[in-house]
């Protein structure tokens, strides 16, 4: 698939995405908006886990911080929702770096455990600080109207907003990961000791990566609060963290476009599983997950790359950053 072919495919997909809001029902639109939001969250996690090799089982924490930042700012201080997004990003960046610094010392399993503990503690902490967070009841928000009097329904506007922010974050991420920083990040994943010996400041990169990853996921969380117009502690539990992890593995570790497939998976497969079997929808989900690991262990994106490589009769895996 040459450069021309790829550009054509992208244009088609983009055109499709832009016309969907005028064709789909509100509910479907809402689902696709969530897909974009999840994609952003998955992008954050993928930068940390896929590209940098730090496994996080607690990314729901940053998603929640973003969501609650937005909710509290809108609810308590009537800040316009637009401003809450950069605030969420910066806040999560800082917290991410602060968590990342001690995390540098933890390897694989232990980092997974630490993040798991963090993710588990969060709903309880959220419930504890009732005055700010509204406790178990959560905070209710209202969906914003389209700005500048554009002829769009709130759902359509949120769709475009999320899509726009997603494309922006994918472009930023791609840029970051393609250059020297990206190579350093991947080098740390592949062999931290060798990277250190080559002069890469692993502590700096690892904690910054944590921060950047948290920021992306935090922005996704902020958007989710605006889109769903409601936040409650139990939505941000460990299962959400695990769902994010499932998303990046299914979509393809260390791939930027793959996150969209991952988001589609985590948004729609549980729904369809329920249609297939009222009794055991999660059994279907689990089975699909396991089968995906057998058939496409490098995720959907990895599988697609193999297919394209075979079509072009090039051995797969000739990319530099992968």
């Amino acid at each position: 698939m040459g450069k021309g072919g790829r550009a054509l495919a992208l244009t088609v997909v983009l055109a499709g995405a832009l016309t969907l809001p005028f064709v789909l029902s509100n509910f479907r639109l809402f689902q696709f908006t969530l897909v974009f939001i999840y994609s952003m969250a998955l992008l954050g996690l993928n930068i940390l886990t896929g590209y940098n090799g730090q496994i996080s089982l607690g990314h729901s924490t940053f998603y929640a911080i973003g969501a609650y930042t937005t909710a509290i700012m809108i609810d308590k201080w009537t800040v316009p929702y637009g401003w809450t997004i950069p605030v969420a990003a910066i806040l999560c960046l800082v917290i991410g770096v602060l968590f990342g610094i001690p995390a540098v010392r933890l390897e694989g399993l232990y980092l997974a455990l630490a993040t798991l503990a963090l993710g588990l503690a969060l709903p309880q902490i959220l419930k504890y600080f009732e005055h700010w967070t509204g406790g178990s009841q959560g905070i209710v928000l209202s969906k914003p109207d389209a700005p500048f009097g554009l002829p769009l329904t709130p759902d359509q506007w949120l769709y475009f907003l999320s899509l726009g922010l997603l494309l922006l974050s994918m472009a930023l991420a791609s840029n970051l990961l393609r250059g020297r920083t990206g190579r350093a990040i991947v080098a740390i994943r592949d062999n931290a000791i060798a990277a250190e010996v080559m002069g890469i400041n692993t502590t700096l990169y690892k904690s910054l990566t944590f921060g950047v990853s948290a920021a992306y996921t935090g922005v996704a969380g902020a958007l989710s609060a605006i889109t769903i117009a409601f936040v409650a502690p139990d939505a941000f539990d460990v299962f959400l963290s695990i769902t994010f992890l499932v998303g990046i593995v299914v979509g393809g570790l260390a791939s930027v476009p793959g996150v969209i497939f991952g988001a589609l998976f985590i948004q729609f497969v549980p729904n369809y599983a329920q249609d297939i079997s009222k009794a055991a929808p999660w059994a279907i989900y689990g089975t699909v997950l396991i089968l995906m690991m057998y058939v496409m262990p490098r995720g959907v994106w990895g599988g697609l790359r193999l297919v394209f490589a075979r079509l072009a009769r090039r051995p797969a895996g000739t990319r530099t950053v992968s």
Partner: protein
């Protein structure tokens, strides 16, 4: 003072259960570098099987040992059928498969048995034991006893039998093991079988306390993680000791520190995990893994 001892014994009882599950986790981790997140659900499912047999009229101990056999076979089958295709895959892939397993088992249990809590019998008498001035729950003491029996059995097995030696070798150095003729794949399967068996014991000991439902083991899994972290993920003995410590601390903190209600009990376990990881990641008894560069 009596309350103190009673809480300690009670804590040791639940601690033994945490330790059993932690042991199962550590066994599989040592052999495969993978944490089997489905360990709790496998134990829960085994306990449901026991419940089915007891409900059908089988005497407790017959059902108990039958469940151990079924759990063992189940563990072996799961490893050979579900895990084997991804045995050499990167860790995250195997973790995904374990998560898939977790979700499937919980879902099937809910489907077959519903989510309503069921009582599970204890093989130990209802009457409390009296040791001097102490009054101890018979089930608590019994649970500690059963945990210790399982541990002794495992210790003897791994230390003194050729098969146990082969399993240890396969876990430490699969390549050299093949060179002496050990069929490493089957050793892995046996490891999973034993881990499932140990988990089943834990499940059957805890069910009378917390009642049987598909969510039963989820909370316990967290405590098991705390136990294994405290004891050290590469120390089976440490995991069990860690379990006892976590159980006792949990009980004592719950009794004597007033503002920690049942909600924050979980936070105590989590705080323990984080503290251990920051202060001494390899745990009390674990060895710092030295990697050849």
């Amino acid at each position: 003072m009596d309350t103190f001892f009673q809480q300690v014994i009670s804590g040791l009882a639940t601690g033994g259960i945490y330790g059993s599950l932690a042991l199962a986790l550590v066994m599989i981790y040592q052999a495969t570098d993978v944490v089997n997140y489905a360990q709790g659900e496998m134990a829960m499912f085994s306990t449901y099987l026991a419940w089915t047999m007891i409900n059908a009229g089988l005497p407790y101990w017959v059902a108990f040992f039958a469940t151990l056999v079924l759990a063992f076979v189940g563990g072996v089958v799961i490893e050979r059928v579900v895990i084997r295709p991804v045995e050499n895959a990167p860790v995250l892939t195997i973790v995904m498969v374990c998560i898939g397993l977790l979700v499937i088992l919980r879902s099937i249990a809910g489907w077959i048995y519903s989510y309503i809590q069921k009582p599970f019998p204890s093989p130990f008498p209802q009457k409390p034991l009296q040791l001097g001035a102490l009054i101890l729950g018979a089930h608590d003491v019994g649970a500690i006893g059963v945990t210790l029996v399982v541990l002794v059995f495992l210790y003897v097995f791994f230390r003194y039998t050729p098969l146990g030696l082969a399993m240890r070798a396969a876990a430490q150095n699969p390549v050299s093991s093949r060179l002496v003729g050990i069929r490493v794949g089957w050793m892995l399967a046996l490891g999973w079988g034993l881990a499932a068996l140990v988990g089943a014991v834990g499940g059957m000991m805890v069910a009378p306390i917390v009642f049987l439902d598909p969510n039963m083991m989820a909370g316990i899994l967290i405590y098991a993680f705390a136990s294994a972290t405290l004891g050290g993920f590469n120390s089976p003995g440490g995991a069990v000791v860690g379990g006892f410590i976590v159980g006792v601390v949990e009980n004592l903190v719950g009794t004597y520190v007033k503002f920690i209600g049942t909600e924050l009990k979980l936070t105590v376990a989590l705080a323990m995990i984080l503290i251990v990881l920051v202060v001494r990641p390899s745990g009390l008894f674990g060895r710092v893994a030295v990697h050849r560069v």
